[in-house]
Symmetry: C2
Subunit: 199 residues, 2 copies
């Protein structure tokens, strides 16, 4: 049992795509874990006990048996996937996975995920969505459509944590008000990922 394969505690909200990324990665790799539910809508991540483990005050986070903690969904997925089929061993291919992971957090999640949360959980009408976020979300989904028109998965012709990270909120893009019928390659990829993940 290497340290990435020991029982861990997953702190997070299972309605959150960021938390689900970690759960799916752990499930696919057979990493055992227990879940401690953290309700992000109730400021649970800003409480002193949580901040003592995760100073950034965000979920998800994992705690190893010896008490070491790690936050940031994509950093956790990368840590768990290191040395497995979900992250290429070749440095440049791994870097291409990183490229999509950073893009997801900077150019996708702040638009697609934030709009999904607004619509699904905060009662924002589609017509009242933040127009800047809509525009940026459209750009992100357009880039995915172009990229996936020439390949089945994002990197190295195989399913990796780049796909897991991007699947987490792209599957909710239609609910967030984006037209996915005009993005058939993204739709096909969502189905391929769904079968891998079982979601």
């Amino acid at each position: 049992v290497t340290e990435q394969r020991a029982m861990m505690t997953l702190y997070g909200d299972l309605r959150s795509g960021n938390t689900l990324k970690v759960k799916w990665t752990a499930d696919l790799l057979g990493v055992p874990y227990t879940v401690v539910e953290v309700d992000a809508f109730m400021s649970a991540t800003r409480q002193p006990e949580y901040l003592a483990k995760f100073p950034m005050g965000q979920a998800p986070g994992i705690e190893l048996p010896d008490g070491r903690c790690l936050a940031q969904s994509n950093a956790i997925c990368r840590y768990l996937a290191n040395g497995t089929d979900l992250l290429p061993a070749h440095p440049f291919q791994a870097a291409k996975v990183d490229e999509w992971l950073f893009w997801e957090q900077y150019s996708h999640e702040p638009y697609v995920a934030v709009l999904y949360t607004a619509v699904a959980y905060r009662g924002v009408a589609l017509s009242e969505r933040d127009s800047h976020r809509v525009q940026k979300g459209e750009q992100a989904l357009d880039l995915m459509e172009t990229w996936l028109s020439a390949r089945d998965f994002f990197v190295a012709d195989r399913f990796t944590i780049a796909d897991i990270a991007l699947f987490a909120y792209t599957r909710f893009a239609e609910r967030a008000g984006f037209d996915m019928k005009k993005r058939p390659h993204v739709e096909g990829w969502l189905q391929r990922c769904g079968r891998k993940i079982g979601a």
Copy 2:
């Protein structure tokens, strides 16, 4: 010469902290490169020739001698630093570097860097800064102050690409309108990083 040590082309804007992260990392590691200036303010990253290399349409990006391209500043730094003193070899320590890299792009750069650009390059008065970005930037700098009150560098008691990534825009935080006099530990860390980087 491993592939990370071959002559590369760096596409970027040397006024941009994101581009400087890559330049500094290459300089510290002795990776040879030539620079192709990309003026982000002139939409250079949205031109077809640029998009053919870097579909995400962002700078910086690097091109290897065989034509392979990689974007996202923190992904590039991680790729260059892999196997060197700038990125710990231990998987958990490397994951803690990743944690800060993702935090930087999600919770620091969109506030501190965007406000710096607004003030320094777009003529926005300090009193007219976006209040949401100010609040989030204050939170990010407060977290850095607390973290650095107990250590000299962000991860593993040594200078890593986590420090390089966070240095890039934190050094402009005062120019962006943040009060750094009340953050002496960040100021001390900026000086330590500046000596390492020569910036």
